[in-house]
Amino acid sequence: MNYRLAALALLCPAVAANAEAGKVHEHVFSNGLKLLVKEDHRSPVVVSQVWYKVGSSYEPGGITGISHMLEHMMFKGTAKYPAGEFSRIIAENGGNENAFTGQDYTAYFQTLEKSRLEISFKLESDRMRNLDLKAEELKKELEVVTEERRMRTDDQPRSKVHEQFMATAFTNSPYQNPVIGWPSDIANYKVEDLQAWYQQWYAPNNATLVVVGDVDAQQVEKLAEQYFAPLQPSVLKPVKPQDESEQRGVRRITVKAPAKLPYLMMGYKVPVLKTAKPEWEAYALEVLAGVLDGGDSARLSSRLVRGKQIAVSAGAGYDFTSRLPEIFLLEATPAEGKTVFDLEYALLDEVYQLKNQLIDKDELQRIKAQVLASAVYQKDSNFYQAMQLGTLETVGIGWQKADEYVDKINQVTAEQVREVARKYLIEDTLTVAYLDPQPITQAAKPAKAIGGHHAF
């Protein structure tokens, strides 16, 4: 019954056509800049994103987090547009803007009413080559980044566990370092470090410009030609591969932090789309993640949270568009009266079953139905569509893979899911981290109250 519905969905022309990623206009300028434009005329808006092929996985020791620091400094002005001008101009044009840094990319974006795309190009092309890095601005912004780290990591027990987990799981892959950087590295950036990093990576031939919205692709290309084509390319040195050395044996760590609940994180080393040979393994791992955590009907919710009631929450994660081999992550919070060790045992039992029994055909159908529907839902957002193209292009997979996704997931069989479980979910590449909660001594001190409370 269920299966027939999925088949129906796949046959329905409207759904199938809308699940396709849609037409992308590609152009590469002579300076190496790649432009990707996707027209979406549902709303009179446009998103413009500039993606640089640089992120924390490009950073050597001593300057971890410098890509993220540079992202902050990119708002500190050029000769033409001094500090604050970029944001002021975008704001007065009704735009939203920001930037984000990941392991494999640094990206800047503006969303604007469609007629104002030129403003984005004018400003982004200027700061691609003409950033004016000042020591005194760095001094202040370094404090901002330090506060950001305190907020995101230092005062968040589970983020700390994740940071230590990654540092333990990877021996020499740059994924061992946090995107925001280690505190000692952050404290010691010099303006010359930033300058060198900017020189090395911010160039048209290391960037992808992605535009999605109510635009005409040809006109966007003309506009991009005007602003970006005159920029000089750089000589780019190839990145060293830094292949992770082989792990032979489980790794376990404990992280102590002030917390109220214990927490468990486990992960196995796995290939990603870019590195999987054969390629279907990456899609099978995607389906595997879906079997465990693809919604409320998936195994972790139905078996561990509801069935055994051993966890109050449990999840699985696999970032299949990373540039380098990744971790297939499992994480969970034990229910009252259960321990992280009970949970670890239960999760290992789930892994055991995946290796020894074929997944049910209804399970597989549900995952495929969800993937198909998500492919439609994602098109509700220009921003998401641009993210997808930008990510695929920047990690070196190529944006064309977006079009294949639904088909490739549909081709995955139950046997293939069992095969990747057997091949990759093995104890020799497992890392386990436990959060050991430390007491929070908490006392309200209303002593400084200036006055009374409420009038009743």
Binding site: N2, L5, L8, A9, N18, K23, E39, H41, R42, S43, P44, V45, F75, A83, G84, S87, A91, E92, N93, G94, N96, N98, T111, L112, E113, K140, E141, V144, E148, R150, D154, D155, Q156, P258, K260, L261, D296, S297, S301, S302, V305, R306, Q309, V312, A335, A369, V371, A373, V376, Y377, I440, A444, K445, P446, A449, G451, G452, H453, H454, A455
Partner: protein, 432 residues
């Protein structure tokens, strides 16, 4: 080939003159309000049912609205939690439910292909009209909520928010957190949830929002189907008025964190507030603009004291919080708080400059189309308009309402509404 046809449709759409969304509104036979917007281009639809059944309806049982909402898809009619999840997910539908202070909602996003849509909607209807509140499901979800409440105590930011709302609202139902507190939730029984559900999840207290690629006729059928099995019931009494604090207060909560979270504010504005646009535009200049505002400039850009420094008005049925916030290294808390208050006081005294007001209006009106450029955002807006019974042309008049705000109106509204001598201040972090 197929794709070309769709492309053609899109092309035609893009040539039509664009205007804010056309909201259609009617009532179901049982008297529930329905709000519908047709959006073409993607074969999907969002259906959201909203009740006046948020945490402000908890009375002494803090958290009962939230736990009631969480239980709905844990068993309904003959279906178990597993059955419900499988039925939704087998057709790629996304179900969600939740509460805030004023509202409780259930929502579904589904493809419009008939077989898929029908199955999703039938399941949704069952969850909405026949929740079972089985003892075993209740015990499990209660335990999960209690774990969530414990987890909240790990976060200095969350603790600050709890203390802040208590300081602002005292005995008012907006004072307690939506998810409740351990002391109340631990004492709930499944019957408490059942009673709450029976009282508030009724047609007279419901409205429906439908946004997507369905016809008016389909929308009418959908609304009728979804609500048909609910008893008519009655609307609850109005949420009581908010009493302003009568004095300023400052409290510190000790916490072993590297940063101190600072929150300063008062009960602020409400949805039908005549001062709403003056406060909204004024706040955009003070601390509402994401990367261009006085607080952002003074706290972060000039001094590097914090990653985030913002202010916000969160309008509700009654005055929702006005909150200025930052997080900073423990030892510079006083310095950062001084900068925040100085920035606020100066704004209160002198108001914005002409230039600032113009820039703020340009930002708000220039980005108007981006407020509802997705079905998700549009659904949020329509739900707000419907729930608070704003005029249907709210979006059409939004820009002119913003344009009409003057410096004098901003100064006047802030002076009357955000009195510095009443500000409530909460800090959470490691003190000296």
């Amino acid at each position: 080939m197929r794709f070309n046809l769709i492309g053609l449709v899109l092309l035609l759409l893009s040539q039509t003159v664009w205007s804010a969304a056309k909201i259609e509104n009617w009532q179901t036979p049982q008297g529930s309000r329905v709000y519908y917007v047709r959006t073409a281009g993607l074969p999907m639809v969002d259906v959201r049912v909203v009740f006046d059944a948020g945490s402000a309806r908890d009375e002494a049982q803090f958290g009962v609205a939230a736990l009631t909402s969480a239980l709905l898809d844990s068993g309904a009619g003959d279906l178990s939690a597993d059955d419900i999840a499988q039925r939704f997910e087998s057709v790629g539908a996304n179900y969600s439910a939740g509460v805030n202070e004023d509202m409780a909602w259930l929502a579904i996003r589904t493809l419009t292909e008939k077989a898929l849509f029908d199955k999703a909607l039938a399941t949704f209807e069952t969850v909405l009209s026949k929740p079972a509140f089985n003892q075993a499901d209740f015990e499990r979800e209660k335990a999960r909520t209690l774990a969530g409440l414990k987890h909240r105590e790990e976060s200095p930011g969350e603790l600050a928010g709890l203390a802040f709302n208590r300081a602002l609202y005292g005995d008012h139902p907006y004072a307690h957190p939506e998810t409740g507190v351990v002391e109340t939730v631990a004492g709930f029984s499944a019957d408490d949830l059942k009673s709450f559900y029976q009282k508030y999840y009724v047609a007279a207290n419901a409205m429906v929002v439908i946004v997507g690629d369905v016809s008016r006729e389909q929308a009418e059928q959908t609304a009728n189907q979804v609500l048909s099995k609910l008893p008519v019931g009655s609307k609850p009494a109005e949420i009581p008025a908010v009493t302003m604090p009568n004095k300023a207060s400052k409290q510190h909560i000790e916490f072993p964190s590297t940063q101190t979270h600072v929150l300063v504010g008062l009960p602020g504005t409400y949805r039908k507030d005549p001062d709403y646009f003056a406060l909204y535009v004024g706040n955009h200049i003070l601390g509402g603009g994401s990367m261009v505002s006085r607080l952002f400039e003074e706290v972060r850009e000039k001094r590097g004291l914090a990653y985030g420094a913002y202010s916000v008005f969160a309008p509700l049925y009654r005055q929702g919080p006005f909150m200025m916030s930052l997080q900073t290294r423990n030892d510079q808390t006083e310095q950062a708080l001084d900068v925040l208050l100085k920035t606020f006081n100066e704004f209160l005294d002198k108001g914005p400059s002409d230039k600032e007001l113009t820039a703020a209006k340009q930002n708000i009106t220039g980005g108007f189309a981006m407020r509802f450029d997705t079905n998700s955002k549009l659904t949020d807006y329509v739900a707000m308009i419907g729930f608070y019974q704003q005029p249907l042309d709210y979006l059409d008049t939004f820009q002119s309402n913003v344009e009409a705000v003057s410096i004098e109106q901003i100064k006047d509204a802030f002076k009357r509404r955000v009195k510095p001598e009443l500000l409530q201040t909460v800090t959470v972090g490691a003190g000296k």
